[in-house]
């Protein structure tokens, strides 16, 4: 009886861990698909799109996850095929550094102006 109990506990634990693994891979799949742009319905993510292209990309992403590829490796695979534009989150490189650095520059310039104004007021 005791052995049966132990067996049942182990069995339940194993099935739950499998469920958890499935849930994790589903979450990862959704996350990746939401970050990939559909090239047919531009402006929509692959996750939202119903196009034939999006359907095939969903299958490919599923296959790559099952093959054990990490999220970044899947993006890299798609970038190699379709260019940087396919991923919503652009990488920091020579074509995108203005995009990444300009907001930071504006933030610093704005901060500096505010700092100068407030310190001038305090002096007065």
């Amino acid at each position: 009886m005791k052995t049966l109990k132990i067996f049942l506990i182990v069995f339940l634990f194993m099935s739950f861990s499998e469920l958890k693994a499935d849930k994790n891979s589903d979450e990862l799949k959704s996350k990746i698909l939401k970050n990939i742009r559909c090239l047919i319905c531009q402006g929509q993510s692959v996750y939202d799109s119903e196009s034939e292209f999006a359907f095939s990309i969903k299958l490919i992403v599923d296959r790559k996850i099952n093959e054990g590829l990490k999220e970044e490796q899947i993006y890299e695979f798609l970038r190699e095929k379709y260019g940087n534009w396919i991923v919503y989150n652009p990488q920091f490189n020579k074509n995108t550094y203005i995009l990444w650095l300009l907001p930071l520059l504006f933030f610093l310039a704005g901060g500096a102006i505010i700092y100068r104004k407030t310190s001038n007021k305090n002096e007065k």
Binding site: F53, F55, K81
Partner: protein
């Protein structure tokens, strides 16, 4: 003096914004992947159109020659218009045409080939579209040129026309 500097800076900033937006508005807002990038051919296994046996990419591209991969489907109207040009291209001895039948009904595809002729030395089947993704395609028809080093050297999105046919003939010469 201080005011003049501020006005000058504002004008510079506004001009900068104007140039950025003007350039942005003039750019086409639909993206299509680059067509000149060199890429390795993917490693894959695909079903043969005629025998239903599986072929691997090494076997398909085993000869030391230029290959053209043409993605087509019987339901694709532009594929019909480019087909006579593919028939013309198939007469060129320095190139081998491989057809990639995309998400098609096998009977309809066979009818299409029987009706319009078969320009391909080999046809492989891509039922779920994943093989086309491996090639970097996103629709039908698309055509890829593969050189003797088994690199994809050029791709053409959309149907082939006379001008593209001449370009292909020039590349594979």
């Amino acid at each position: 003096m201080k005011n003049k500097v501020s006005i000058f800076l504002v004008i510079i900033f506004l001009s900068f914004c104007f140039v950025i937006f003007y350039k942005g508005l003039n750019n086409p807002n639909t993206y299509s992947p680059k067509i000149m990038d060199k890429k390795n051919i993917p490693i894959f296994e695909a079903k043969d159109f005629n025998s239903s046996s599986y072929l691997n990419s090494e076997k398909i591209f085993e000869e030391d020659t230029f290959y053209i991969i043409n993605i087509w489907a019987s339901w694709c109207v532009p594929c019909r218009t480019e087909h006579p040009l593919l028939m013309k291209l198939s007469k060129n001895q320095s190139v081998k045409l491989i057809g990639l039948n995309y998400k098609d009904n096998l009977n309809n595809a066979k009818k299409f080939i029987n009706e319009l002729g078969n320009p391909y030395s080999q046809i492989i089947i891509d039922n779920d579209g994943t093989l086309s993704i491996e090639f970097g395609a996103y629709g039908v028809p698309e055509t890829f040129i593969i050189d003797k080093n088994k690199m994809i050297i050029r791709k053409f999105i959309g149907p082939i026309n006379q001008e593209i046919l001449e370009q292909i003939q020039l590349i594979v010469k």
